[in-house]
Every structure is written in structure tokens, then in C-alpha cells.
């Protein structure tokens, strides 16, 4: 290797050595040296049309590969445009390294052009951030950033680099590059494993809840093995979807505010809860004081000890990597002999019926469109959603083949996530069909990324669920704000098919009366990118629903009359 390397060249060296093949970014003054170093390099730079999309695309890249996603932006507005994406990654535990340019060191603190203290701004939306003051510290800072982003609990890390550091040459006597072993992770104690198995063997109505921790632990195989042996009913949080096999009859569906009735009622009746890699989010627990009221034993498995007792106090904690924890649980259960929960499984499945359907629509139901979509979509597809009603309808219906096949913004609930996320997934998995399900609100927050799809000829297909409303907010206004529909009507939406055409994307409309199955087959089988604009009944609501802060006893199965 050439001895005299600039800071920018060192950044690219580190990206390569960390196994990064693709970065998502947007150029600008302070970051120009890095873009120059990336010019023609093996590490591919994907030009998005807004920095927020770079963070979301990097997030999806990470969510679907388990690798670290990288986004790049310049100082000032470039960096601040990343903030929402970093916050999104923070709440969903996504390993991202954000590299931002900074004004040159001598200008820092002078309110220079495009100067902002991005390190202070991102303090609470990153695991850590660092301002690199010397080119000789650059390699070490980046290596540590990647290591920290990966875990034990993944998350975003920001590395802010002044432009003079990017341009400077590494000193002749700078320390040689170190190698950093992966961060050590804790291991659940044998005693806790044995106590958990003992509780399960004594249980009459156990329920297992799986969350996003299984995704980051790559524990799908171990989870399915454990559940097959245990034979208990199980449910998933939004980010746990895909852990259960698509045909697993013991799986009761998504839990929480818009989860399946049987899933919520089974948890309410459970005497033992085993919570795996989930954090008892308020959208899952509602009112934590009445959550799982009959449970005499709650087991909580997590890589992050700060989750224990944060919302729900567990009786047994399994502090460790979920893949290992599940392996140990399976081995211990096999030794102890698995009990039979067949009767409870049947009883739990009967606690709720099918998803409700609006009985009197005046137009195409979004739920009918989504039912047809999921009936047609290939098994190996990756589906990214935006945020809102369509997200919950999709989460209720999707049966992904694995945790990488359904990606969504769960913790932060970031509108505008879906389309750039689909782009990130398409770069990560060039051979797999990728779909974005978006609402008309979120789609309009990410429209510029149609240009990214066009530039890179990405086969991203967009199912636009257009109800001419910010539907989820409208639903709450209808139910809880006396039907005062403040600022939620999108009556003046643009012609979305014409917009797609302007970006060279084929598009067609789907309206009431159109043959749904045929339209969806056409959509999912079409080569390349496509927009399907589903013009939907504007007043359909998401049910079941447990109102915020309440329990399953307040579950609403259909619109009150």
C-alpha cells in the first residue's frame, strides 16, 4: 500500500476493509475530498436525491443484510438532513455509520458557511459520535465506529471529519492500523436458562413473543427450532415478523395496537410469557400495568441489560445474544422433555377471528388490494413499507419468509422511509424482487427518489395505497377527536401516474371494480420498476385496534356504530 495516504483515501481503505461495497450519499463542499476518493472506486457510491434517503437506504441495506449500512453527507444541511434517518436507526437498532464532512478545523466555531455542530445535534440519536481532529486518528476512529455500530446491540454511529483532515496526508510515523476484535457479547447464565425451561414445563398457557432482536442476532433458524420443540402459541412484534415460518399454525400474528385479536388475547391469558429480543414498546404493551395480567412468570431475553425492567419487570432475565440463548433453551428443553401445549394452542387460535373487513365501502378497499398483493407476491420478495395505515394493514397480512423480507420503520415511525428503504434493499439484493408499499402522504415525502430508481435502473415496484388522506391521523381524529379532520385531507394530490411517467416509470391505476388478482399479477410479474396507483376508499380504518395506553379489554374490532 502507498504509504502517503490522504484522509479521504484512508476512509475508503477502511470502508473496503470493513466489507462495505455500497455507500449511499450526496456530495457537497466539505465532503468533496471523500467523493473524489470514491470516484471510480470499487466501493460504490449511490447518489440519492436527498440525504435523508441516504440514511434510510443505508438502513434498509443493513436491515436486509445484517451488515453495517453507510451514508455520506456534507456539513451543515447535508448532515442535518441525516438526523431523522439516524434517529430512525437508533430506535430500530440498525447498524449505520454516517460519515459527514465538516468545515475545516480552523473554521470550526466561527459560524462558517455550512458549519453546524452535528456532533452535538446527534448526541441523542447515535450510540456515539466522534469528531476526528487529526488524520492520524482517522483509521482508528472509523474502525471503532464500525465495531460499535455492529453491537452488541446495533445502532448508528456518526463520524464527523473536517475537510482539512480529509485532505491531509497521514504522517510517516503514524501508528499502524490496528485490528479490532468484535465487541464481546454477554451470555445468558445456565441458571436462567434452566429456570426458564422449568417455568415453561410448569406452564399451562405459555406464549412466546419475538421481536427485532431475532433479526439482528440472525436467529430465525434457532427460533423456529425452539418453537417447533416447545409447541406453544407465539406472536411477534412488528420487527419480529418473519421469525415464524410462513406456514406455522402456532403463530398467532402480530401483537399490539393493531395486532391480531387472538395474539393480543392469548398474551392477556398467558400464565408464562417468554419475551425474546423485544422491548415492551408502548405500541405492544398499551398499558404496562395491565399487560399480560395473568402471567405469573415473565422471562425477558435481550442483549441489552438496560431493557430489563424498563417498562415491564421480568421474573427471569436472559442477558445474551438471542441466537445463543435460543440454542441453549432448545438444548435444555430437549433434555427436560417438551410438554404438550396442543390444547392451549387450539384454544389460543380460537381467541380471535379473521381480520375484519369494512362492510360498506364506497370504493376500493385498501385491505382488499393488500390481500391481493400478498397473494401474488413471490415468496422471496422483500417488502418495505412506509408509515401509516398501509403499514399496519401490511403488517397484519404479511407472512415473510424471514426477517429480512419485511422492513419498516417501527420505533420512530418515519414517513418517507418506504421508498428509499426499497432502494437500499434493491442494492443489497440485486436478484430479489423488491416492493415498496407506500401511502400517498409518505410517498410525497420521498418522491425525488424516483430519480434514483431511474438512474440505477432498479426493479423497485411501488404499491401506492392512495386514500387521499393522512389516514392514520384521520382515523384517530374520527375515533378520538370528535371527527374534527384537521390538516389530514390530501384532496389535492397530484396525478401520481403522470409523476411516475415523468421519471420514466411505467404506472397504472387500480380502482373499484378492477379485477384485483389480475392487476396484482400484472404488477408483481412486470419486469423492472413500476407504480401501481391504488385509488382507495378514503375512510377505511385499521382494525383491530387497542387505543393507546389501554389494554386488550378495550380492543375495538370494527368501527363503532
Amino acid at each position: 500500500m502507498e504509504r502517503r495516504r490522504t484522509g479521504a483515501a484512508l476512509v475508503v481503505d477502511i470502508l473496503e476493509s470493513e466489507g462495505i461495497e455500497t455507500v449511499f450519499g450526496y456530495p457537497g463542499g466539505a465532503i468533496m475530498p471523500l467523493h473524489d476518493a470514491l470516484f471510480g472506486h470499487r466501493v460504490r457510491h449511490v447518489l440519492v436525491r436527498h440525504e435523508a434517503a441516504a440514511a434510510f437506504a443505508a438502513s434498509a441495506y443493513a436491515r436486509t443484510t445484517g451488515k453495517v449500512g453507510v451514508c455520506v453527507a456534507t456539513s451543515g444541511p447535508g448532515a442535518t438532513n441525516l438526523v431523522t434517518g439516524l434517529a430512525d436507526a437508533m430506535l430500530d437498532n440498525v447498524p449505520i455509520v454516517a460519515i459527514t464532512g465538516q468545515v475545516k478545523s480552523t473554521l470550526m466555531g466561527t459560524d462558517a458557511f455550512q458549519e453546524i455542530d452535528i456532533a452535538s445535534i446527534t448526541h441523542c440519536v447515535t450510540k456515539r459520535n466522534v469528531v476526528v481532529r487529526s488524520v492520524d486518528e482517522l483509521e482508528s476512529a472509523l474502525q471503532r465506529a464500525f465495531r460499535l455500530a455492529r453491537g452488541p446491540r446495533p445502532g448508528p454511529v456518526l463520524v464527523d471529519i473536517p475537510s482539512d483532515v480529509l485532505k491531509a496526508f497521514r504522517s510517516e510515523d503514524a501508528p499502524a492500523r490496528q485490528s479490532f476484535a468484535p465487541a464481546p457479547h454477554p451470555r445468558a447464565s445456565t441458571r436462567s436458562i434452566d429456570r426458564t425451561i422449568d417455568a415453561l414445563i410448569r406452564a399451562r398457557r405459555p406464549v412466546v413473543i419475538v421481536g427485532g432482536g431475532a433479526r439482528w442476532s440472525r436467529a430465525t433458524v434457532e427460533y423456529r427450532e425452539f418453537m417447533a420443540l416447545l409447541g406453544a402459541p407465539h406472536v411477534a412484534t412488528l420487527h419480529g415478523l418473519g421469525c415464524a415460518g410462513p406456514a406455522d399454525a402456532a403463530f398467532l400474528g402480530m401483537l399490539g395496537m393493531h395486532g391480531w385479536t387472538a395474539a393480543n388475547r392469548a398474551v392477556a391469558q398467558a400464565d408464562v410469557i417468554v419475551a425474546l429480543g423485544m422491548r415492551f414498546d408502548d405500541r405492544v404493551t398499551g398499558n404496562p400495568t395491565t399487560f399480560a395480567p395473568q402471567a405469573t412468570t415473565i422471562v425477558h431475553a435481550d442483549i441489552d441489560a438496560s431493557e430489563f425492567g424498563k417498562i415491564v419487570t421480568p421474573h427471569i432475565t436472559l442477558h445474551g445474544d438471542l441466537k445463543e440463548t435460543l440454542g441453549a433453551l432448545t438444548a435444555a428443553l430437549r433434555r427436560a422433555g417438551a410438554p404438550s401445549f396442543a390444547a392451549w394452542r387450539t384454544q389460543a387460535a380460537a381467541l380471535g377471528g379473521p381480520l375484519p373487513r369494512d362492510p360498506s365501502p364506497n370504493g376500493l378497499l385498501a385491505t382488499d388490494a393488500l390481500d391481493a398483493f400478498f397473494a401474488a407476491v413471490p415468496r422471496n420478495a422483500i417488502v418495505a413499507t412506509d408509515v401509516g395505515q398501509h403499514q399496519m394493514w401490511a403488517a397484519q397480512r404479511v407472512r415473510p419468509c424471514d426477517t429480512d423480507a419485511f422492513i419498516t420503520s417501527g420505533g420512530l415511525g418515519t414517513m418517507g422511509f418506504g421508498l428509499p428503504a426499497a432502494i437500499g434493499a434493491a442494492f443489497a439484493h440485486p436478484g430479489r424482487p423488491v416492493f415498496a408499499i407506500v401511502g400517498d402522504g409518505g410517498f410525497q415525502m420521498s418522491l425525488p427518489e424516483l430519480a434514483t430508481i431511474r438512474r440505477y435502473n432498479l426493479p423497485v415496484k411501488i404499491l401506492l395505497v392512495d386514500n387521499r388522506n393522512l389516514g392514520m391521523v384521520r382515523q384517530w381524529q374520527q375515533l378520538f377527536y370528535s371527527e374534527r379532520y384537521s390538516a389530514t385531507s390530501l384532496w389535492d394530490n397530484p396525478d401520481f401516474c403522470a409523476l411516475a411517467a415523468a421519471y420514466g416509470m411505467p404506472a397504472f391505476r387500480l380502482s373499484e371494480g378492477d379485477p384485483l388478482a389480475i392487476a396484482m399479477e400484472r404488477f408483481v410479474r412486470a419486469p423492472g420498476a413500476m407504480l401501481l396507483h391504488a385509488e382507495c376508499f378514503p375512510h377505511e380504518n385499521v382494525f383491530p385496534m387497542i387505543p393507546s395506553g389501554t389494554g386488550v379489554e378495550h380492543l375495538i374490532e370494527a368501527m363503532p356504530t
Binding site: A119, S120, H123, C124, K127, R128, V130, R144, A145, R147, L148, V157, A183, D304, A305, S306, E307, F308, G309, K310
Partner: protein, 70 residues
């Protein structure tokens, strides 16, 4: 409650103070000194017991993340 910090990154104190207020707690005393490359600090925290318990969990996490990178 006393929380002790030993760090090379003095900015960690700002994060801890912000987090303290986020949890509805406050601090009654803060002392910090720099020794070579490191900062040694102690912060006296007060607030509702449950908030302090949850804050403590987050501070432990913050410290462990911090140790990973520096």
C-alpha cells in the same frame, strides 16, 4: 444517587445531563477534573425513585457504549 464517570470524551457529561433532565431528574452537584487524557467526574442525581432507576439503566448503557469506542 452518585454517578461516576471516567472518560476520554468530556462531551459525555453533556449527554448525561441532558438524559437526566429527559427522565425528569436533576443534578445537585457536578465535579469534574481532567487528568492527562481522561476526565474523571462525579454527578449527584436526584429525582423520583423509578425515574432514577430507569436513568441508571441508561447511564450504564451509555458508559458501556462509550467504552466500546474509546
Amino acid at each position: 444517587m452518585t454517578h461516576s464517570i471516567d472518560t476520554v470524551d468530556g462531551r459525555l457529561l453533556a449527554r448525561i445531563i441532558n438524559l437526566t433532565h429527559r427522565f425528569g431528574c436533576s443534578y445537585t452537584n457536578l465535579s469534574a477534573r481532567r487528568e492527562g487524557e481522561r476526565y474523571a467526574a462525579t454527578i449527584e442525581l436526584c429525582g423520583p425513585a423509578d425515574a432514577l432507576r430507569r436513568l441508571t439503566l441508561q447511564l450504564h448503557k451509555l458508559n458501556s457504549d462509550h467504552e466500546e469506542i474509546f
